[in-house]
Amino acid sequence: MHWPLGSLLTLAWRNLWRNYRRTLIMLLAIALGVWAMIVMSALMRGMTDQMVRNGLATLPGEAQIHHPEFLLDPSVVNHMPMPAGRLLEQLNSAPITAWAARLRVPAVLASEYASRGVTLLGVDPAQEDALGSLPETLLEGRMLAGADDRGILLGAGLAARLETGLGKRIVLMTQDTANNVADRGVRIVGIYRARLQGDEERFAYVGRGALQELLGLEQRVTEIAVSASDYTAVDAWLPALQAAASPELEVLGWTELHTFLGSMLAVQEGFVLVFMVVVFLVLSFGLINTLVMAVFERTRELGLMQALGMRPALILLQVLLESLLLLALGLLAGNSLALATLLPLRDGVDISAVAEGMEMMEMGTTLYPLLALDDMLMSTAVVLTLGLLASLLPAWRASRLDPVRALARH
């Protein structure tokens, strides 16, 4: 069978511009739809990406090693030894870029005027620096100098609540492994500012060695945080780490440690697709209407073509080509429009007006849209597939016209 594609394409293209006003309106609708799909998914992707990053910065790490009971009962009773032997070797080998052994215990900090419950982190600043898990902004004073620093690093929000400040002494109270009260006076050596106000009041940092001494836990820790700097590629190295750790330890990736973030990311993928399909379903009614009208206007013409010997399949193809051209033009315009919107927003959108609500989702005050090639390809695929499916009906009707009746129409 002969397929005169070239002339069909010319016919389709010219037909498209016979009623250019209608075509332009339809183009505008498709372009806006595509623009909305891409921009919305970029904003959503930016949001989840930031949530995951913020979440992993405070988790911290993309994987953690614990005593198997620790996650159920985060008490100092469930401690474990510092990494050694094969585990230490594995931690120091690629692709793992940083790890930190830390003590995480619930504690109470008391000043002359108030006392607050906090999560006290006994850290080795050198290890934490590599992991990037220490607060970024120091307002006053200094960071912890080493694992044996006897001072404490407090958030500005917590210091304000305790009505205390840099250089003052506060009392740190916690429980040792025998559930006895362990307390000591500590001097505030630094005040930090966290990106999230909540973190500032929740976390206080002390030297790991100093905390081990207070709790009577020589060379013991409660968690080891591990990072390879890319949260999407954890599965590549996690099994090796699990194999290297002794069977009495639990090694978990972040999707299991922070299940909310894990499922969040999985749901988002599906959500983007659902969103695109919904937007396009709305569009498709316009598209079908346009094509039905185009076919209806040309009933006589189509009847004449058939009478002259054009096969129904070619008529079907011609209408589909017309629709394809319309969709392709719409996609081109939509994608360019989306790029033109997103590129200037690369440095972030200020959303501080709704910062309080966003903070509950572990978001900062700036939203960084994240344009993914996948999203652009997906929107193109959705529009083309569904668009052609929607055009099938008018195209089918055009190809099934009875030439005699069609020619008799006025």
């Binding site: 504690a107 109470v108 006897r150 205390t164 002494r169 559930n179 009260v181």
Partner: protein, 251 residues
């Protein structure tokens, strides 16, 4: 050892009674005042009055102490609170409440909170004798007060002592009665004061029978401890300071 030393210091002081200011060292004065206040052991019958501008409530209680580290307090009145008890051994603390019939260990997170709704914290109750060993003491001045000599001692907590105060100022009378204990913030502000409002002779020694703890910025909110009777240096069974005695009073 420290007792013999303080005894020697007292002797020395008695010998040098003619001297205008007795060269007693500040740590010994504080040690003596605490020993005087708690005795080797003691049993006291007292009322705690919690006063606020719009309400006031009082609780009658019995308290036993042994050494610096053991304290048992049991509420006897009013009836709805009777039987509530607190035991403190070393730095740990337990409470018992008959209405729920449970002994609860006071977790470290609660040690800073107030004790039975008063202006004393759990820590004040469980660590009342810490001031002797956890502070550096300096004698600031010696005053005359109602015919008694009064020592003013400044006590600064050790760098890593579990104490929030910048310093405490104690005024101790020459018969070892603690007249006043001031709690100063690290900014040099007076935060709260424990003052002896009445002193009487009891069990053969002068005792501060009314003591009031009040915050400086809210003088209308205070807690008063009124001692009705007290005995010192009696034989107390070790079994008194146990969890089972906390739950089942035998006295």
């Amino acid at each position: 050892m420290s007792r013999t030393r303080s005894l020697l210091a007292t002797l020395f002081c008695l010998l040098a009674i003619a001297a205008p200011a007795c060269a007693l060292d500040a740590a010994t004065i504080v040690r003596q005042a605490m020993d005087h206040y708690r005795g080797q052991s003691s049993r006291a019958d007292m009322t705690m009055i919690i006063h606020r501008p719009d309400w006031e409530r009082s609780m009658r209680m019995q308290a036993w102490t042994a050494g610096d580290e053991k304290t048992l307090v049991r509420v006897t009145e009013p009836r709805k609170d009777a039987g509530n008890a607190t035991l403190s051994v070393d730095s740990n603390m337990w409470t018992f409440s008959p209405s729920i019939n449970r002994v609860i260990k006071v977790p470290s997170s609660m040690m800073g909170q107030n004790w039975m709704g008063s202006d004393f914290s759990n820590k004040d109750v469980s660590k009342s004798a810490d001031i002797v060993s956890q502070y550096d003491h300096t004698l600031l001045a010696t005053e005359e007060h109602e015919g008694h000599q009064v020592w003013v001692v400044e006590s600064v907590p050790h760098e890593e002592a579990a104490v929030v105060w910048g310093k405490e100022v104690l005024r101790i009378r020459d018969d070892w009665v603690l007249l006043e204990q001031q709690f100063w913030s690290q900014d040099g502000e007076l935060v709260k004061t424990l003052a002896a409002l009445a002193i009487e002779e009891m069990a053969g020694r002068p005792v501060a029978t009314v003591m009031r703890m009040a915050k400086t910025d809210a003088p209308e909110e205070y807690t008063e401890l009124r001692t009705h009777a007290v005995e010192f240096d009696l034989e107390l069974a070790d079994s008194l300071f146990t969890l089972s005695s906390l739950r089942n009073p035998r006295q």
